[in-house]
Amino acid sequence: MSRAVLAGVVAAVRRSVSQVCDPEYPEVTIAELGILEGVSSSDGGSTVRIELVPTMLGCPALDVIARDVTDAARTACAGADVSIEVTFVDDPVWTPDRIAPSAVGFLAREYSVAVRSRSATASCPICGNDALEHRSDFGPTPCRSVEWCPSCRNPIEVVGRVDMPAAMEAAPASPALA
Protein backbone atom coordinates (compact mmCIF):
# COMPACT_ATOMS: atom_id res chain seq x y z
CA MET A 1 0.00 0.00 0.00
CA SER A 2 1.41 3.42 -0.87
CA ARG A 3 1.93 5.99 1.83
CA ALA A 4 -0.81 8.17 0.39
CA VAL A 5 -3.31 5.31 0.32
CA LEU A 6 -2.40 4.35 3.90
CA ALA A 7 -2.87 7.95 5.05
CA GLY A 8 -6.27 7.90 3.40
CA VAL A 9 -7.24 4.68 5.19
CA VAL A 10 -6.12 6.06 8.55
CA ALA A 11 -8.07 9.27 7.93
CA ALA A 12 -11.19 7.28 6.97
CA VAL A 13 -10.90 5.16 10.12
CA ARG A 14 -10.41 8.29 12.23
CA ARG A 15 -13.52 9.90 10.72
CA SER A 16 -15.54 6.76 11.23
CA VAL A 17 -14.56 5.94 14.81
CA SER A 18 -14.94 9.60 15.80
CA GLN A 19 -18.66 9.16 15.13
CA VAL A 20 -19.04 6.14 17.46
CA CYS A 21 -21.39 7.07 20.26
CA ASP A 22 -21.24 6.32 23.96
CA PRO A 23 -23.56 3.47 25.07
CA GLU A 24 -24.83 5.56 27.98
CA TYR A 25 -25.39 8.78 26.01
CA PRO A 26 -26.19 7.62 22.48
CA GLU A 27 -26.16 11.14 20.98
CA VAL A 28 -22.68 11.96 22.27
CA THR A 29 -19.59 10.63 20.49
CA ILE A 30 -16.58 9.03 22.15
CA ALA A 31 -14.50 11.79 20.54
CA GLU A 32 -16.55 14.47 22.33
CA LEU A 33 -16.24 12.56 25.61
CA GLY A 34 -12.46 12.42 25.28
CA ILE A 35 -12.43 8.60 25.16
CA LEU A 36 -10.84 8.51 21.70
CA GLU A 37 -7.14 9.23 22.08
CA GLY A 38 -5.71 8.60 18.64
CA VAL A 39 -5.71 6.68 15.36
CA SER A 40 -2.43 5.80 13.67
CA SER A 41 -0.79 3.20 11.48
CA SER A 42 1.67 0.76 12.97
CA ASP A 43 3.64 -2.37 12.07
CA GLY A 44 4.91 -0.77 8.88
CA GLY A 45 1.45 0.13 7.68
CA SER A 46 -0.16 -3.30 8.10
CA THR A 47 -2.15 -2.28 11.18
CA VAL A 48 -4.39 0.63 12.04
CA ARG A 49 -4.13 1.20 15.79
CA ILE A 50 -6.90 2.94 17.70
CA GLU A 51 -6.15 4.09 21.23
CA LEU A 52 -8.98 4.63 23.70
CA VAL A 53 -8.84 6.10 27.20
CA PRO A 54 -11.12 4.38 29.75
CA THR A 55 -13.12 6.75 31.96
CA MET A 56 -12.68 4.28 34.83
CA LEU A 57 -10.81 0.96 34.83
CA GLY A 58 -13.96 -0.82 35.96
CA CYS A 59 -16.33 0.87 33.50
CA PRO A 60 -18.70 -1.89 32.33
CA ALA A 61 -19.20 -0.16 28.97
CA LEU A 62 -15.58 -0.64 27.85
CA ASP A 63 -16.29 -3.85 25.97
CA VAL A 64 -19.27 -2.33 24.16
CA ILE A 65 -17.24 0.71 23.16
CA ALA A 66 -14.33 -1.44 21.93
CA ARG A 67 -16.72 -3.58 19.88
CA ASP A 68 -18.45 -0.55 18.32
CA VAL A 69 -15.10 1.06 17.52
CA THR A 70 -13.81 -2.15 15.91
CA ASP A 71 -16.96 -2.44 13.80
CA ALA A 72 -16.74 1.20 12.69
CA ALA A 73 -13.05 0.85 11.83
CA ARG A 74 -13.63 -2.36 9.83
CA THR A 75 -16.38 -0.69 7.85
CA ALA A 76 -14.22 2.35 7.13
CA CYS A 77 -11.28 0.37 5.77
CA ALA A 78 -13.24 -2.31 3.96
CA GLY A 79 -11.15 -3.58 1.07
CA ALA A 80 -7.87 -2.23 2.40
CA ASP A 81 -5.29 -4.81 3.46
CA VAL A 82 -4.86 -3.75 7.10
CA SER A 83 -5.71 -5.25 10.45
CA ILE A 84 -7.42 -3.27 13.19
CA GLU A 85 -6.07 -3.01 16.72
CA VAL A 86 -8.20 -1.40 19.42
CA THR A 87 -6.37 -0.75 22.72
CA PHE A 88 -7.29 0.88 26.00
CA VAL A 89 -4.29 2.86 27.23
CA ASP A 90 -3.55 3.74 30.89
CA ASP A 91 -1.72 6.89 29.91
CA PRO A 92 -3.03 9.58 29.55
CA VAL A 93 -5.60 9.27 32.30
CA TRP A 94 -9.15 10.31 31.50
CA THR A 95 -10.58 13.26 33.39
CA PRO A 96 -13.86 15.14 32.88
CA ASP A 97 -11.75 17.96 31.41
CA ARG A 98 -11.48 15.85 28.28
CA ILE A 99 -15.19 16.32 27.55
CA ALA A 100 -15.77 18.85 24.76
CA PRO A 101 -17.70 22.03 25.69
CA SER A 102 -20.42 21.13 23.16
CA ALA A 103 -20.99 17.81 24.93
CA VAL A 104 -21.00 19.48 28.36
CA GLY A 105 -23.85 21.71 27.14
CA PHE A 106 -25.70 18.79 25.59
CA LEU A 107 -25.45 16.62 28.71
CA ALA A 108 -26.78 19.47 30.84
CA ARG A 109 -29.68 20.22 28.47
CA GLU A 110 -30.75 16.72 27.54
CA TYR A 111 -29.78 14.61 30.57
CA SER A 112 -29.64 17.18 33.41
CA VAL A 113 -26.13 15.87 34.05
CA ALA A 114 -23.39 18.27 35.11
CA VAL A 115 -19.67 17.88 34.43
CA ARG A 116 -17.00 18.46 37.03
CA SER A 117 -13.78 19.90 35.66
CA ARG A 118 -10.81 22.02 36.58
CA SER A 119 -11.68 24.71 34.09
CA ALA A 120 -15.23 25.40 35.29
CA THR A 121 -17.22 24.77 38.45
CA ALA A 122 -20.12 22.45 37.85
CA SER A 123 -23.34 24.42 37.79
CA CYS A 124 -26.85 23.09 38.20
CA PRO A 125 -28.03 21.84 34.80
CA ILE A 126 -31.61 22.58 35.80
CA CYS A 127 -31.53 26.12 37.27
CA GLY A 128 -27.95 27.27 36.61
CA ASN A 129 -27.04 27.75 40.29
CA ASP A 130 -23.30 27.23 40.61
CA ALA A 131 -23.17 26.46 44.34
CA LEU A 132 -23.90 22.73 44.30
CA GLU A 133 -23.42 20.80 47.54
CA HIS A 134 -21.51 17.54 47.49
CA ARG A 135 -23.56 14.52 48.60
CA SER A 136 -21.70 11.36 47.54
CA ASP A 137 -18.73 10.37 45.42
CA PHE A 138 -20.69 7.39 44.19
CA GLY A 139 -23.61 7.69 41.84
CA PRO A 140 -25.43 5.51 39.32
CA THR A 141 -22.22 4.60 37.51
CA PRO A 142 -18.61 4.53 38.75
CA CYS A 143 -17.76 7.75 36.87
CA ARG A 144 -20.64 9.81 38.28
CA SER A 145 -21.09 11.37 41.70
CA VAL A 146 -24.10 13.02 43.32
CA GLU A 147 -24.59 16.64 44.36
CA TRP A 148 -27.55 18.59 45.67
CA CYS A 149 -28.79 21.89 44.31
CA PRO A 150 -30.06 24.02 47.24
CA SER A 151 -31.62 26.48 44.80
CA CYS A 152 -33.98 24.21 42.84
CA ARG A 153 -33.80 21.40 45.41
CA ASN A 154 -32.86 18.63 43.00
CA PRO A 155 -30.25 15.91 43.32
CA ILE A 156 -27.77 16.36 40.48
CA GLU A 157 -25.65 13.72 38.79
CA VAL A 158 -22.15 14.97 38.11
CA VAL A 159 -19.66 13.30 35.78
CA GLY A 160 -16.45 12.77 37.76
CA ARG A 161 -15.75 12.16 41.44
CA VAL A 162 -14.85 15.09 43.65
CA ASP A 163 -11.07 15.05 43.52
CA MET A 164 -10.79 13.20 40.25
CA PRO A 165 -9.19 15.92 38.12
CA ALA A 166 -6.77 16.94 40.87
CA ALA A 167 -5.94 13.36 41.81
CA MET A 168 -5.15 12.43 38.26
CA GLU A 169 -2.94 15.43 37.80
CA ALA A 170 -0.94 14.95 40.99
CA ALA A 171 2.37 13.17 40.92
CA PRO A 172 1.65 9.80 42.49
CA ALA A 173 5.09 9.26 43.99
CA SER A 174 4.06 10.07 47.55
CA PRO A 175 1.24 8.10 49.14
CA ALA A 176 -1.96 9.94 49.77
CA LEU A 177 -2.88 8.92 53.28
CA ALA A 178 -2.97 12.43 54.69
Binding site: P60, D90, T141, D163
Partner: protein
Protein backbone atom coordinates in the same frame (compact mmCIF):
# COMPACT_ATOMS: atom_id res chain seq x y z
CA UNK B 1 8.24 -3.99 29.47
CA UNK B 2 11.16 -3.58 31.81
CA UNK B 3 14.63 -4.89 31.02
CA UNK B 4 14.91 -6.70 34.36
CA UNK B 5 16.33 -10.21 34.49
CA UNK B 6 13.88 -13.02 33.64
CA UNK B 7 13.84 -14.44 37.18
CA UNK B 8 13.07 -10.98 38.57
CA UNK B 9 10.22 -10.61 36.10
CA UNK B 10 8.89 -14.04 37.13
CA UNK B 11 8.77 -12.74 40.70
CA UNK B 12 7.11 -9.52 39.57
CA UNK B 13 4.45 -11.48 37.72
CA UNK B 14 3.79 -13.57 40.85
CA UNK B 15 3.33 -10.35 42.81
CA UNK B 16 0.95 -8.93 40.20
CA UNK B 17 -1.06 -12.17 40.32
CA UNK B 18 -1.41 -11.84 44.10
CA UNK B 19 -2.54 -8.20 43.81
CA UNK B 20 -5.00 -9.12 41.06
CA UNK B 21 -6.44 -11.99 43.11
CA UNK B 22 -6.90 -9.64 46.09
CA UNK B 23 -8.84 -7.24 43.86
CA UNK B 24 -10.93 -10.00 42.31
CA UNK B 25 -11.98 -11.45 45.67
CA UNK B 26 -12.71 -8.12 47.32
CA UNK B 27 -14.59 -6.88 44.25
CA UNK B 28 -16.73 -10.00 44.17
CA UNK B 29 -17.43 -9.83 47.90
CA UNK B 30 -18.43 -6.15 47.73
CA UNK B 31 -20.79 -6.90 44.85
CA UNK B 32 -22.90 -8.87 47.34
CA UNK B 33 -24.16 -5.51 48.68
CA UNK B 34 -25.94 -4.61 45.45
CA UNK B 35 -29.54 -3.78 46.38
CA UNK B 36 -29.09 -4.72 50.07
CA UNK B 37 -26.88 -1.86 51.29
CA UNK B 38 -27.99 -0.30 54.59
CA UNK B 39 -28.96 2.95 52.81
CA UNK B 40 -29.17 4.00 49.17
CA UNK B 41 -25.96 6.04 49.00
CA UNK B 42 -24.03 3.22 50.63
CA UNK B 43 -25.53 0.70 48.23
CA UNK B 44 -24.29 2.83 45.31
CA UNK B 45 -20.91 3.41 46.93
CA UNK B 46 -20.15 -0.26 47.60
CA UNK B 47 -21.37 -1.16 44.13
CA UNK B 48 -19.14 1.45 42.49
CA UNK B 49 -16.15 0.43 44.60
CA UNK B 50 -16.78 -3.20 43.68
CA UNK B 51 -16.71 -2.29 40.00
CA UNK B 52 -13.51 -0.30 40.48
CA UNK B 53 -11.78 -3.22 42.22
CA UNK B 54 -12.87 -5.67 39.55
CA UNK B 55 -11.56 -3.20 36.96
CA UNK B 56 -8.22 -3.12 38.76
CA UNK B 57 -8.15 -6.92 38.80
CA UNK B 58 -8.82 -6.97 35.10
CA UNK B 59 -6.05 -4.45 34.36
CA UNK B 60 -3.58 -6.46 36.45
CA UNK B 61 -4.50 -9.81 34.89
CA UNK B 62 -4.12 -8.04 31.54
CA UNK B 63 -0.42 -7.52 32.38
CA UNK B 64 -0.02 -11.30 32.70
CA UNK B 65 -1.80 -12.57 29.62
CA UNK B 66 -4.46 -11.96 27.01
CA UNK B 67 -7.02 -14.41 28.39
CA UNK B 68 -8.18 -12.44 31.41
CA UNK B 69 -11.19 -14.69 32.01
CA UNK B 70 -9.03 -17.81 32.20
CA UNK B 71 -6.73 -16.10 34.69
CA UNK B 72 -9.59 -14.80 36.79
CA UNK B 73 -11.81 -17.86 36.84
CA UNK B 74 -10.25 -21.02 35.46
CA UNK B 75 -7.40 -21.71 37.87
CA UNK B 76 -7.40 -24.37 40.55
CA UNK B 77 -7.93 -23.03 44.10
CA UNK B 78 -4.27 -23.61 45.08
CA UNK B 79 -3.19 -21.47 42.13
CA UNK B 80 -4.87 -18.34 43.54
CA UNK B 81 -2.71 -16.03 45.65
CA UNK B 82 -5.34 -13.91 47.41
CA UNK B 83 -4.83 -12.75 50.99
CA UNK B 84 -7.39 -14.42 53.26
CA UNK B 85 -8.82 -11.06 54.34
CA UNK B 86 -10.15 -10.53 50.83
CA UNK B 87 -11.93 -13.89 50.82
CA UNK B 88 -14.03 -13.12 53.93
CA UNK B 89 -17.72 -12.72 53.05
CA UNK B 90 -18.31 -9.86 55.56
CA UNK B 91 -22.10 -10.04 55.35
CA UNK B 92 -22.35 -7.72 58.33
CA UNK B 93 -22.00 -4.11 57.19
CA UNK B 94 -19.66 -3.23 60.08
CA UNK B 95 -17.38 -6.05 58.99
CA UNK B 96 -17.48 -4.78 55.43
CA UNK B 97 -16.62 -1.25 56.55
CA UNK B 98 -13.63 -2.27 58.69
CA UNK B 99 -12.30 -4.62 56.03
CA UNK B 100 -12.84 -1.92 53.37
CA UNK B 101 -10.90 0.59 55.48
CA UNK B 102 -8.00 -1.80 56.15
CA UNK B 103 -7.88 -2.94 52.53
CA UNK B 104 -8.14 0.41 50.77
CA UNK B 105 -5.63 1.99 53.14
CA UNK B 106 -3.24 -0.87 52.33
CA UNK B 107 -3.93 -0.61 48.62
CA UNK B 108 -3.17 3.09 48.55
CA UNK B 109 0.27 2.37 50.02
CA UNK B 110 0.87 -0.58 47.69
CA UNK B 111 -0.14 1.30 44.53
CA UNK B 112 2.01 4.29 45.48
CA UNK B 113 5.03 1.97 45.76
CA UNK B 114 4.38 0.76 42.20
CA UNK B 115 3.48 4.07 40.56
CA UNK B 116 7.02 4.69 39.28
CA UNK B 117 7.74 1.05 38.52
CA UNK B 118 10.46 0.16 36.04
CA UNK B 119 7.84 -2.24 34.66
CA UNK B 120 6.20 0.63 32.83
CA UNK B 121 2.86 -1.02 32.15
CA UNK B 122 2.52 -1.89 35.84
CA UNK B 123 3.38 1.69 36.78
CA UNK B 124 0.66 2.99 34.46
CA UNK B 125 -1.96 0.68 36.01
CA UNK B 126 -0.81 1.70 39.50
CA UNK B 127 -1.10 5.42 38.74
CA UNK B 128 -4.51 4.89 37.20
CA UNK B 129 -5.74 2.82 40.15
CA UNK B 130 -4.26 5.20 42.72
CA UNK B 131 -6.35 8.02 41.30
CA UNK B 132 -9.50 5.94 41.80
CA UNK B 133 -8.42 4.83 45.25
CA UNK B 134 -8.75 8.26 46.85
CA UNK B 135 -12.50 8.24 46.72
CA UNK B 136 -12.53 4.74 48.26
CA UNK B 137 -10.34 5.88 51.09
CA UNK B 138 -12.38 9.02 51.70
CA UNK B 139 -15.52 6.91 51.80
CA UNK B 140 -14.07 4.43 54.30
CA UNK B 141 -12.39 6.96 56.59
CA UNK B 142 -15.38 9.32 56.50
CA UNK B 143 -17.80 6.67 57.73
CA UNK B 144 -15.34 5.15 60.17
CA UNK B 145 -14.44 8.43 61.88
CA UNK B 146 -18.09 9.42 62.24
CA UNK B 147 -19.11 6.03 63.65
CA UNK B 148 -16.18 5.90 66.06
CA UNK B 149 -17.52 9.07 67.68
CA UNK B 150 -20.47 7.06 68.93
CA UNK B 151 -20.53 4.46 71.70
CA UNK B 152 -22.46 2.01 69.51
CA UNK B 153 -19.93 2.44 66.70
CA UNK B 154 -16.97 1.88 69.00
CA UNK B 155 -18.44 -1.20 70.65
CA UNK B 156 -19.31 -2.80 67.32
CA UNK B 157 -16.36 -1.79 65.15
CA UNK B 158 -13.30 -1.86 67.41
CA UNK B 159 -13.48 -5.61 68.17
CA UNK B 160 -13.44 -6.17 64.41
CA UNK B 161 -10.02 -4.52 64.24
CA UNK B 162 -8.70 -7.15 66.68
CA UNK B 163 -10.25 -9.81 64.49
CA UNK B 164 -9.06 -8.50 61.10
CA UNK B 165 -5.71 -6.77 61.58
CA UNK B 166 -3.60 -9.96 62.00
CA UNK B 167 -5.09 -11.35 58.81
CA UNK B 168 -4.76 -8.02 57.00
CA UNK B 169 -0.97 -8.09 57.44
CA UNK B 170 -0.93 -10.70 54.69
CA UNK B 171 -1.67 -7.86 52.23
CA UNK B 172 2.02 -6.97 52.60
CA UNK B 173 3.30 -10.49 52.00
CA UNK B 174 4.40 -11.86 48.64
CA UNK B 175 4.00 -15.34 47.20
CA UNK B 176 6.91 -17.70 47.86
CA UNK B 177 9.48 -17.52 45.10
CA UNK B 178 8.97 -13.79 44.81
CA UNK B 179 12.02 -12.02 46.20
CA UNK B 180 10.93 -8.61 47.44
CA UNK B 181 14.53 -7.36 47.67
CA UNK B 182 15.09 -8.14 43.99
CA UNK B 183 11.91 -6.29 43.04
CA UNK B 184 13.11 -3.21 44.90
CA UNK B 185 16.62 -3.49 43.46
CA UNK B 186 15.17 -3.74 39.95
CA UNK B 187 12.98 -0.68 40.52
CA UNK B 188 9.79 -2.66 40.02
CA UNK B 189 8.68 -1.69 43.52
CA UNK B 190 9.92 1.54 45.10
CA UNK B 191 10.11 0.47 48.72
CA UNK B 192 10.47 -2.74 50.77
CA UNK B 193 7.19 -4.28 51.92
CA UNK B 194 8.22 -3.83 55.55
CA UNK B 195 8.30 -0.05 54.96
CA UNK B 196 4.93 -0.17 53.24
CA UNK B 197 3.43 -2.23 56.03
CA UNK B 198 4.77 0.20 58.65
CA UNK B 199 3.20 3.14 56.84
CA UNK B 200 -0.11 1.30 56.60
CA UNK B 201 -0.08 0.37 60.29
CA UNK B 202 0.64 3.97 61.25
CA UNK B 203 -2.32 5.14 59.14
CA UNK B 204 -4.60 2.55 60.76
CA UNK B 205 -3.32 3.46 64.24
CA UNK B 206 -4.01 7.12 63.58
CA UNK B 207 -7.54 6.47 62.33
CA UNK B 208 -8.57 4.66 65.51
CA UNK B 209 -6.46 6.60 68.03
CA UNK B 210 -9.24 9.16 68.51
CA UNK B 211 -11.40 6.31 69.81
CA UNK B 212 -8.71 5.54 72.43
CA UNK B 213 -7.84 2.30 70.70
CA UNK B 214 -4.55 0.70 69.69
CA UNK B 215 -4.64 -2.32 67.36
CA UNK B 216 -2.45 -5.24 68.37
CA UNK B 217 -0.08 -5.84 65.49
CA UNK B 218 1.49 -9.24 65.06
CA UNK B 219 5.23 -9.53 64.57
CA UNK B 220 6.61 -9.72 61.04
CA UNK B 221 5.82 -12.81 58.98
CA UNK B 222 3.21 -13.95 61.48
CA UNK B 223 1.54 -16.13 58.89
CA UNK B 224 3.26 -19.49 58.35
CA UNK B 225 3.50 -20.49 54.69
CA UNK B 226 1.40 -23.57 55.42
CA UNK B 227 -1.57 -21.30 56.22
CA UNK B 228 -0.85 -18.49 53.79
CA UNK B 229 -3.14 -17.40 51.00
CA UNK B 230 -0.08 -16.13 49.17
CA UNK B 231 1.33 -19.67 49.22
CA UNK B 232 -1.83 -21.13 47.73
CA UNK B 233 -3.74 -22.11 50.88
CA UNK B 234 -7.35 -21.06 50.42
CA UNK B 235 -9.53 -20.02 53.33
CA UNK B 236 -12.77 -21.83 54.10
CA UNK B 237 -14.69 -19.06 52.32
CA UNK B 238 -12.99 -19.30 48.95
CA UNK B 239 -14.96 -22.23 47.51
CA UNK B 240 -18.31 -20.48 47.86
CA UNK B 241 -16.88 -17.20 46.56
CA UNK B 242 -15.36 -18.87 43.52
CA UNK B 243 -18.56 -20.81 42.81
CA UNK B 244 -20.41 -17.49 42.75
CA UNK B 245 -17.84 -15.96 40.37
CA UNK B 246 -18.10 -18.77 37.83
CA UNK B 247 -21.86 -19.26 38.10
CA UNK B 248 -22.55 -17.58 34.76
CA UNK B 249 -19.57 -19.18 33.02
CA UNK B 250 -20.68 -22.61 34.14
CA UNK B 251 -24.07 -22.01 32.53
CA UNK B 252 -22.58 -20.46 29.37
CA UNK B 253 -18.85 -21.10 28.87
CA UNK B 254 -18.77 -18.58 25.99
CA UNK B 255 -19.98 -15.68 28.15
CA UNK B 256 -17.58 -12.74 28.41
CA UNK B 257 -17.05 -9.91 30.94
Amino acid sequence: MTDSAPEVMDGAREMVLALADDELCIGQNLAWWIAVGPFLEEDLALTSISQDELGHARALYGLLGDDVDALAYARQPHEYRSAHLTELPCRDWGETLVRHFLYDTAETVRWAALADSSWEALGAVARRALAEERSHLRHATGLLSRLLRTEAGRSQLLPLFDQFTPMACELFELPPGCAADDLVAAGIMARPLSDQRAEWQAAVDEAVASAGYQPQWPADSAIPASASGRAGQRSAHFAALHAEMVEVLSIDPTAVW
